[in-house]
Symmetry: D2
Subunit: 133 residues, 4 copies
C-alpha cells in the first residue's frame, strides 16, 4: 500500500486542484508534523531555554495536521479558504524554522525540524502558485 497511490484515486470536488502539487504538499506537511512533534517531545526534557521552541513546534504540528486533513477531504475545498490556510501554515513554518535554527548546532532534532519546515513552506508556495494558474 502506498499513500501517494491512494491520493491519486481521490476524486476531486467542484474545484479542481493540481494533484501533483497537492500530493507533494500533503507529504511535506506530514513530514513537518512528525518532525515538529518529535522536536517538541525532545524539547520537553531540555529545560526552559527550549520553551519557545517546544510551544512553536507543538503549534506547527497541530497546524500542519489541520492543513493536511483539509487537503484529504476533496468535497470541502474552497480556493479562498485553502489560500488562507496555506498562508497561515507557511507563516508558522517560517517562524518555527527560524526558532529551531537558533539551536540547530546543539540539537539534531531542531536541525531536522527546521529542514522539514523549510521544505513544507516551499511545497505550500508551489501549491499556491499552481492555484493561481
Amino acid at each position: 500500500m502506498d499513500t501517494m497511490e491512494m491520493m491519486k484515486s481521490m476524486s476531486m470536488g467542484s474545484e479542481p486542484m493540481n494533484m501533483d502539487a497537492m500530493q507533494e504538499c500533503i507529504q511535506a506537511m506530514n513530514a513537518c508534523s512528525m518532525a515538529a512533534t518529535m522536536c517538541a517531545g525532545t524539547d520537553m526534557a531540555m529545560g526552559s531555554e527550549m520553551a519557545k521552541c517546544c510551544a512553536m513546534c507543538s503549534n506547527m504540528a497541530d497546524m500542519a495536521d489541520a492543513c493536511m486533513r483539509m487537503m484529504m477531504r476533496p468535497m470541502g475545498m474552497e480556493t479562498d479558504v485553502m489560500r488562507s490556510m496555506l498562508t497561515a501554515c507557511m507563516t508558522m513554518g517560517k517562524a518555527c524554522a527560524a526558532e529551531c535554527r537558533m539551536h540547530a548546532d546543539m540539537d539534531e532534532m531542531c536541525r531536522y525540524c527546521a529542514m522539514a519546515c523549510d521544505d513544507m513552506v516551499a511545497k505550500c508556495e508551489a501549491m499556491m502558485t499552481s492555484m493561481a494558474a
Copy 2:
C-alpha cells in the same frame, strides 16, 4: 473547576495579549469545534447532498482545535503567526457558516453550527482588533 479560571492563571510569554479577548476567542473556538464535529457527524447519515457540509465542518473543527491550542501555549505566541492563524480560522468560519446556513431550515445541527461559526468569527475579529491596539 472552571476552564476560564485556569486561563486567568496562564502566565504570558514575551508578547502580552489581551487576556479577556483571548479567553472569549478560545471559548468560541471550542464551541465552534464541537458544533462542527457534531454537524459533520450528523451529515454522514444524510447522504451525498451534505458531502460539502460534512467536509467543511470537519475542516472547521480541525482548524478551530489547532487555533485554540495555539492560544493555550503562551510561550509560543508570535503576533504575525497568530494573525495569520486567526485570519485562516475566520475565513474558514465564514465559508462553513455560509454552507451550513444553506440547509439550516431542514437541519437543526446546521443551524447551531452556523451560529457557532458566526460567534467564533466575531470573537476572532475582536481579538485581532485587540492585537492592533
Copy 3:
C-alpha cells in the same frame, strides 16, 4: 447556543447509548483536554523537572480529543471499540492526574489539571456502567 442542547438533537446510530452519561462524559473530556493543554503549555516554561508532566498532559489532551470526537459521531459507535477507548482514556487520566498531583502544591495549573482528569475518569466510569446496563 448551547453545546449540550446540540447533543440532545444528535440522532443515534444502531447502538443506542445513555445520552445523559455520554453528554457528561463529552463535557468532562472537553474540560480535561483544555486543562491538560494549558498545563503542558505552562510546563514548557518551567524546566526539565516538568518534562514528564508536559509530555503526559500533551498525550492526555490528544486522547481526550480523540475520545470526545468519537462520541460526537453517532454513526460510528460500536460498543467494544467505545469500551477500549474509554478504558485507555481512563488509564491515561489516572496516570496524568497522579503526575500532576506530585507538583500540585507549587503549580496551580497542575492542581486544576489533576482535578479535571479525576472528573473525566469518574464520568467515563459512569459511562462504562451505563453501557453494561
Copy 4:
C-alpha cells in the same frame, strides 16, 4: 531528511522501548491515519450507505494520530498507559478494517484503508510483544 532517521535520534525516557518496533508502529499508524482520513473524505460524497464507514474512519484517524504522537514524546511514556492505548487502537483498527472490507469491492479507497488498518494492527501487536519481553 528522513523521519525514521529522526526517530533514531530520539532519546528515551525512564522506560526503555524497543525502538525498531516503535518506529514500525509509528509509521504504520501514520499510513493508517492518512488512509482513514482519505477514506472518510471519499465516503462523504457517496451517500448514507457509507455513513458508518465515514464515522469509523474519522474515529480511526483521530485515534491513530493520538497514539502516534504519544510514541513521539519519549518523556511521557508509561507502560500501562501505552498498553491500553495500543489495545484501543488495535480494537478500533480491527473494527474499521471489517467495515471497510464490506465495500472494498466497489471502493478502492476502502480496500486501501482496510489494508492500512490491518498493517497497523500487526505492528501494534509486535510492539505489545516487544513490551512484554
